[in-house]
């Protein structure tokens, strides 16, 4: 009977592990550039529009050059590939796009399509719609589509006016009070809007600006139309002409001035959509001008200053070559990338680009995830064959490798951001996973009971699953600029790190305790009291370790608050969350001293403690303002409650078993 139970349990656990491992492997595969497999066989679709637009797949070299193009976004300089990746994730919920032609586009290839082959990009199934009700709400037919499906811009286009009207109406409702449908409509409208801005971002590079007026034409050697880069190159002459014309008494000057303004308006009209994309580094030092240029701000700056840097002209010429199609797109990328890289280098803003490219190219997180998956498999087999030393060694080596990859990922992130390891919620997940796995490995080295190594595998697998899930839900760059109050590396390094180690130890203790309770409830290893004693000892040790860090971290937080705001404690939700962890762990240790908790009781308390940490770590963030994307919070809310309920159910079941065993023992006496 028991054997059957155990087999069933292990089968379940193994299936779960396989699923997570497969997910991790998929992540790793997705994270690597798919450019090698890209669009080589894509059939050329015919362009119906008259605008000259290229229509062919991007060469690997072009993707490489475009991917490492520096761009200033969200307050920092990052490679275009990072920008493309998170933009695609936001619109489609994935980092790659399964195109209609059957090939998979990586994010950079997709973004280049949007920029330079917009007609083609419009037909790709891009926009993730969670529930087709949102499509019906904007008056479109959902025939032939699944309830949760991806829609192309071309498919949505007839419904866009209604979409915008509805989104406008729903946007007035406070995000917390919106229904799921209303939120989806708002999100879809935002995404369509974002796509349409990107689609027009290189309109300027395809445009021919009309030149009228004798003296204006003379600047361009008599040409009737010029490219944007050409207008930029002549900006100093145009500025001089403008001064001359405005101060001239000649009646013909009025017409020339009007022609000059017309040129300016035309340039403005074509470059307006590029407002958000700052990919042109200023030619001056960062201390003189921090904000990078868009093509339009570059032109108006050159016009105002009466000077232009030849590298800027070269960059724009390069993009025009790409945009206008023909065979020399690649040469265009080379020119544009070289000019931008040179400018960024002169400002010292390209130092971290190579690191960031390497971070996403080699995807240490994806590798770590996959390795934790394999380690989990080994650990599951180890549960079936507890005496196999080969399996034990395999599990240990895999966990160690996975942890090393994760630590490397965290170290790379620190180097890229110039920050201590934890400054965002996403980074807490990585750090908790790494710390928990390291502590578990240390435990395994100390007692070689084959328990801690399995716990490390579970923790690593689940931790990275949560990290990936969070990233997918949040859809924001995971290396953002920090708000003013967090701009202090000293407190981030001390308070935040200590608290996060406290989280990690508490979660590991909860996991080990849950293993203990699960084994008790399922009556596994009933005749092995040493197993239980060792497990409970580990729970106690890890809890003490965690309590020290939680206390120190909380007090350091108080000191930070006192230094900065003149009060040690303010009963703020996040402060209270940290206090709850401290209180729970300290109460556990005192209850053990008082003799109220022994092996079993301590494990029930530690397993419950996991939910206290989860509340403090995630729960308080969902209480109030700050994080208010509906899909985001509802996704996390559901995961959080599943964890609460699972832990509580386990505690209750274990409590019931304990109570029954005591009652039986009393009756026997």
């Amino acid at each position: 009977m028991i054997a059957r139970w155990r087999t069933a349990l292990i089968a379940c656990v193994a299936c779960f592990g396989l699923g997570l491992a497969a997910h991790g492997a998929q992540e790793a595969a997705e994270a690597r550039p798919a450019s090698t497999a890209t669009v080589t066989n894509a059939p050329a679709t015919t362009a119906t529009n008259a605008t000259p637009e290229r229509n062919e797949p991007w060469s690997e070299h072009a993707l490489e050059l475009a991917g490492r193009l520096p761009l200033q976004d969200g307050g920092r300089v990052k490679p275009l590939s990072t920008y493309a990746s998170f933009t695609l994730l936001r619109l489609s919920g994935k980092r790659s796009l399964a195109s209609t032609s059957g090939v998979t586009l990586d994010a950079t290839a997709w973004l280049l399509d949007v920029f330079f082959q917009p007609r083609r990009a419009e037909r790709e199934p891009l926009f993730l719609v969670q529930d087709s009700d949102a499509i019906e709400a904007i008056g479109l037919s959902i025939e032939g589509k699944k309830k949760r499906d991806r829609w192309s811009h071309a498919e949505l286009a007839p419904g866009v006016p209604k979409l915008i009207a509805l989104a406008h109406q729903y946007d007035a409702i406070e995000p917390k009070l919106r229904t799921s449908l209303q939120q989806q409509v708002v999100t879809l409208a935002e995404n369509v809007f974002a796509f349409e801005s990107l689609r027009g971002a290189f309109d300027w590079a395809r445009a021919d600006l009309p030149v009228a007026g004798e003296r204006v034409r003379a600047v361009f050697g008599g040409a009737a139309s010029v490219s944007f880069s050409n207008a930029l190159a002549r900006a100093p002459e145009l500025a001089r002409l403008h001064t001359e014309l405005t101060s001239s008494a000649d009646p013909a000057a009025g017409a020339d001035l009007e022609a000059l303004y017309a040129l300016e308006r035309a340039a403005d009209a074509t470059a307006r959509a590029s407002q958000g994309l700052r990919y042109l580094p200023p030619a001056v030092a960062a201390s003189a001008r921090e904000e990078w240029f868009t093509p339009w701000s570059l032109l108006s700056d050159a016009f105002g200053a009466g000077a232009v840097d030849p590298r800027h002209v070269r960059a724009l010429e390069g993009w025009e070559r790409v945009a206008r199609g023909g065979g020399d797109a690649e040469a265009g990328f080379v020119t544009a990338e070289a000019a931008s890289a040179e400018l960024a280098h002169a400002r010292g803003e390209d130092e971290k680009l190579a690191l960031e490219l390497a971070y996403y190219r080699w995807s240490p997180i994806g590798w770590s995830h996959a390795l934790f998956g394999l380690a989990f498999l080994a650990a599951a087999l180890l549960w079936i064959r507890p005496t196999s030393s080969a399996l034990h060694r395999a599990a240990f080596v895999l966990v160690a490798a996975a942890t090393t990859a994760l630590v490397a990922a965290i170290a790379l992130r620190c180097a890229i951001r110039g920050r201590p390891p934890v400054s965002t919620l996403y980074e807490t997940v990585l750090f908790v996973t790494a710390t928990g796995a390291l502590v578990a490995l240390a435990l395994e080295l100390m007692n070689r009971r084959r328990i801690a190594v399995s716990a490390a595998a579970v923790l690593g697998l689940v931790g990275l699953f949560v990290a990936t899930g969070y990233e997918t839900l949040d859809k924001q760059d995971t290396m953002p600029s920090l708000v003013a109050v967090l701009d202090t590396n000293f407190w981030l390094a001390t308070h935040v790190t200590a608290i996060t180690i406290g989280y990690a130890a508490g979660m590991l203790a909860a996991l080990l305790a849950s293993l203990y309770l699960l084994a008790r409830v399922l009556r596994v290893r009933r005749n092995d009291p040493v197993f239980f004693r060792e497990l409970a000892r580990m729970v106690y040790g890890v809890t003490c370790f965690g309590a020290i860090f939680a206390i120190v971290g909380t007090i350091l937080g108080g000191i930070w608050a006192n230094e900065s705001w003149g009060r040690f404690w303010g009963w703020d939700p996040k402060e209270n969350g940290a206090l709850l962890i401290v209180i729970w762990q300290v109460a556990m240790l005192h209850a053990r001293l008082a003799g109220w908790l022994r092996e079993y009781g301590l494990c029930i308390a530690a397993a419950f403690g996991g939910t206290v940490i989860a509340f403090s770590w995630w729960g308080v963030n969902l209480l109030g303002v700050g994080l208010h994307s509906y899909g985001f919070t509802s996704g996390i809310q559901a995961a959080l409650w599943s964890y609460y309920v699972a832990q509580w159910a386990l505690c209750l079941a274990a409590g019931a078993v304990l109570w029954r065993a005591r009652a039986l023992a009393r009756a026997a006496r």
């Binding site: 109050v485 202090t488 206390i551 900065s564 040690f568 703020d572 206090l579 709850l580 109220w596 209480l623």
Partner: protein
């Protein structure tokens, strides 16, 4: 302007508060004293009782129960902030001695945070310090327990004796006082015969609970009249007479009660006042409202008196002038990277310039002045900005 900070008439609530403080101090001392006298014989019932008390007061079981209660209060107090806001939740759960929590229709009495933390301090002193075996093995525990005790003590001092508030200044403005975020006071300005002005201040405790049926009467030898305060509303707005039944109208206007704001500092209190001539009994009625620009002016005994309801003010030991406020964003975003205020401190005739920024507050004269907020949020590049500094006088952080 001469200024006197004093209550106009004594009331019971502040006296009660200090009595509570005294009693709690005695409690701590008594138990600490008991700890030093070793319990031994069982014949003496007093000694036996002391011994029993000591056993309970010092046990780890007691710590455990108290910690769990504090944990429960912390959890409830955190969740309650969604509905009540920080200020109210803090008063209800953490600064109280007892409260009643409703779980659905069932009322559950709970000890308040102040009581639990007080008892925890006793438990710490008796069990965690006095009765703990001393040696290298317990050194860490002793240090940790002393640290927690210090935290509880400083928290206690902060809660009862700290003043906190803010100064909000436009560029070029200066101030010599700061005002509370939440607490109110009524200020009565009395013109003196020598031409100077004297300000009498009535703290919130003396009128907070005054209603139409039970108004608060304020009197002072310096005033030729009594002030009757009634219909005090925590958050109110003026409205035409007749729109709020039960509240008296003055010149066709009444104050209508509004629900309390979750952010307590957004509340705008209001009250109905009447100046009463003690000899004739004649009344002169008026309305006080916190958002009123001008104080209520009343002619009495040939002089003009002004009365205002405003946030409680505390003097600064220096004059603070805002020279320039700067907000810097991360490049190309609307995400703030830093806030900085250049200020001048004028103290005892000497002035010194300095910069207050996020994580870099000014500490001077027992005060901490830090960058808290700024505005207006829709300011144009050339318009004047204001900067809000939060000010805390915390005796436990001297």
């Amino acid at each position: 302007m001469k200024r006197a900070r004093r209550g106009v008439a004594p009331t019971s609530s502040s006296a009660e508060a200090s009595a509570r403080v005294d009693r709690m101090d005695e409690h701590v001392e008594a138990s600490a004293g008991a700890a030093s006298s070793a319990p031994s014989t069982r014949q003496n019932p007093v000694r036996a009782a002391c011994g029993a008390f000591l056993t309970i007061a010092s046990s780890t079981g007691t710590s455990c129960v108290l910690l769990l209660l504090l944990g429960l209060l912390t959890w409830l107090g955190t969740l309650a902030q969604v509905e009540l806001g920080l200020y109210e939740a803090q008063k209800r759960y953490f600064e109280s001695f007892a409260l009643v929590e409703r779980v659905g229709p069932v009322p559950i009495p709970l000890p308040g945070g102040a009581l639990v933390m007080g008892l925890l301090a006793v438990n710490l002193v008796v069990g965690g310090l006095a009765r703990l075996r001393r040696g290298w093995a317990t050194a860490g525990v002793l240090v940790a327990h002393s640290g927690i005790l210090l935290l509880l003590a400083s928290g206690f001092v902060k809660t009862w004796w700290a003043e906190d508030g803010h100064v909000t200044l436009f560029e070029g403005q200066s101030a010599a006082h700061f005002e509370s975020w939440q607490r109110w006071e009524i200020a009565i300005t009395a013109p003196q015969s020598d031409g100077s002005v004297r300000e009498l201040v009535v703290p919130e405790e003396q009128f907070r609970f005054a209603t139409g049926d039970a108004p608060a009467r304020l009197a002072s030898p310096e005033l030729p009249f009594q002030v009757e305060v009634g219909h005090v509303l925590a958050n109110a707005e003026p409205a035409p007479a007749g729109t709020a039944p039960g509240t008296p109208a003055v010149d066709g206007v009444v104050l209508r009660a509004l629900p309390r704001e979750t952010t307590a500092e957004r509340n705008l209190a209001g009250a109905h006042v009447a100046l009463i001539d003690p000899s004739s009994g004649a009344r002169h009625a008026g309305l006080l409202w916190a958002a009123e620009r001008e104080p209520l002016r009343v002619e009495f005994a040939g002089r003009t008196w002004s009365i205002a309801l405003r946030h409680e003010r505390y003097p600064l030991p220096f004059t603070l002038r805002l020279e320039d406020f700067r907000k810097e964003d991360h490049p190309g975003t609307a995400m703030p990277r830093s806030f900085e205020s250049d200020v001048t401190i004028v103290e005892a005739g000497a002035s010194r310039p300095l910069t207050i920024s996020m994580n870099q507050p000014l500490r001077s004269g027992g005060l901490v002045v830090y960058q808290a907020s700024w505005g207006p949020s829709n300011a144009r590049p050339d318009s004047k900005l204001f900067s809000t500094f939060a000010v805390v006088r915390n005796p436990s952080d001297a």
